[in-house]
Subunit: 335 residues, 2 copies
């Protein structure tokens, strides 16, 4: 089952979307918003699934689904917690600045509490007030949970995964060092993230969702050119079950919690830093990583951060090259 | 005007509460929940104020207001961002561990993104799975904002303050050093916070709300004995306007954002660390601070962190010694 929210008010209007993303059906008689559905999942899931079946059979009124009319599936959420599950990415960034990677980073997930009071839709532009802030994209996989009890095990946590999707976790790289030096984590350096047009239930992904990982290639284009073709199922040190259990160690998680994977990142086949797509590599899911590789290989970063007019695309494909979650397609605009 | 949420479902039921906190009136025909009211403030504020006036005049159906039946005014929120506006507190903690306080801490607010997917009510017990985590209370002032635009000035930010209240920002002190060392801020070390039974509009506070500060004494009792009597309007380096503007530097803030002051803390009259109430001082709003003062004066912390059975009370009084926001009154229980 695929779910989306059409732009309407603060929380959007819930629709069920066909597998090919061409059609949708109003689901607001079952639950007005996706958050309301997640709040009451045990009661509404069956009705939503029946609606999805009817939509596939074209036995109910349906509308064309236009991704530009979609908000983020949760236009705002009660929790957005982002991990750094691809430790290769963290190791590279540290290597570039000559900092050691603590051994514990391979056993204990990094996670930060993100702002969740307002997200960007998949076609919304990225407002940027100051280019010197160093605006970057970060292509990630996310899951949405139901209620997760305090102290949940990895298995209990995985059973709590309701939906899977993609995000562009926008970061202001040049604000990060000062903010992290203060010791309290990210705040100003993490403006609103954007999410894929649809979120998908685990069963609808079949074998692509296994062991708490999405086994598909995350596709990233920058200004119309391939920038990343990175395998989300590989090099993910901490699966989503482990990430959710980490988040629930000292407190229960409310339904509608969004947990992120952190920037997807693959090691190169020879074990070194990944190569650009133009050099036969898999490329990158953020600019910081290509800048890091440039720094390691040639002493300085060459690829600039995002500026007004730059465009990015993030998606993942099925075997017929159709987007599974729709496409995040954003342009940076001077605010 | 004073607003509260009676326990009901995930978001409570909105009531208007009389100034003396004895009575309340159902406001759910105006807005079902406090979040719904904040989402639509321009439309509903007048109706809520009329209801409050009718309640004071006893011209409408009213019920006894029992603080134990109240949830947090926002039982869950889209954003909880906590500052450290009383830099004295930060300076003391650093002094105790021999760390320098960067000069910038007096100009640039510290703020962390807190978890907001589930808050404790004012009488809810504090669940503690492991006493070795070092459970602490933190008595703070909070404000709730309307929509605040990206890049808001301090004045615009102050105009966005809708409500004022108190919090007990529960902290797990022994998890903090490890978590902050990882560089991504607090996560497991900050379980659910509790909030005062009622939140109050700025106008209802009169002169007690001035220059973006609450000019009342924050009262804290620990196990039935006075522990803190700290002036919230003094030694607050950053007022709420400055804190909100800091939060809005790179992104708009959604209606219902809760901004915290950080632990309220006063310097001693002689400029040294504050004294306990038993020694004629104003005491403290968290255990970490008394432990810090003990460490500075006598080389080691003596006051233990919270354990099962410990009780805490947090409130602020009007001139007749009646609680303004009701009372946070919690017991720690082994979970």
């Amino acid at each position: 089952m695929k779910l989306a929210s059409l732009k309407q008010g603060r929380d959007g209007k819930l629709v069920v979307v066909s597998n090919d993303l061409a059609w949708c059906a109003d689901a607001s008689h079952i639950a007005p918003t996706l958050q309301a559905a997640l709040d009451d999942w045990a009661r509404v899931e069956g009705d939503l699934r029946n609606l999805a079946t009817d939509l596939e059979h074209e036995t109910i009124p349906m509308m064309r689904f236009h991704e530009r009319q979609a908000s983020a599936p949760l236009p705002r959420a009660y929790q957005w917690a982002d991990g750094s599950a691809y430790v290769n990415h963290v190791a590279l960034v540290r290597q570039a600045r000559g900092a050691e990677l603590p051994e514990s980073f391979w056993q204990d997930p990094l996670m930060y509490q993100g702002g969740s009071d307002g997200f960007l839709g998949p076609r919304d532009s990225i407002p940027l007030k100051d280019e010197s802030w160093g605006c970057d994209l970060e292509a990630e996989v996310v899951v949405v949970t139901g209620d997760v009890p305090l102290g949940a095990s990895r298995e209990e946590a995985l059973a709590g995964v309701r939906l899977i999707g993609l995000t562009n976790d926008v970061s202001l790289r040049n604000l990060i060092p000062g903010e992290l030096a203060k010791g309290f984590g990210f705040f100003q350096s993490k403006p609103a993230s954007a999410f894929s047009p649809v979120f998908v239930t685990p069963d609808a992904l079949g074998d692509w969702w296994q062991d708490g990982k999405l086994h598909r290639t995350l596709m990233v284009d920058l200004n119309g050119k391939p920038f990343g073709r990175v395998a989300a199922g590989e090099d993910m040190t901490f699966d989503f079950g482990t990430l959710i259990a980490h988040a629930a160690k000292t407190r229960a998680l409310g339904a509608g919690t969004i947990i992120g994977s952190g920037t997807v990142s693959n090691r190169d086949a020879d074990g070194g830093p990944g190569k650009p797509i133009g050099e036969g590599g898999k490329g990158y899911c953020c600019l910081a990583e290509v800048r890091t590789v440039e720094t390691i290989l040639r002493g300085a970063a060459e690829t600039p951060f995002l500026k007004a007019g730059d465009t990015i695309r993030i998606w993942a494909e099925d075997d017929k090259h159709h987007p599974i979650f729709g496409t995040i397609e954003q342009t940076v605009v001077a605010d």
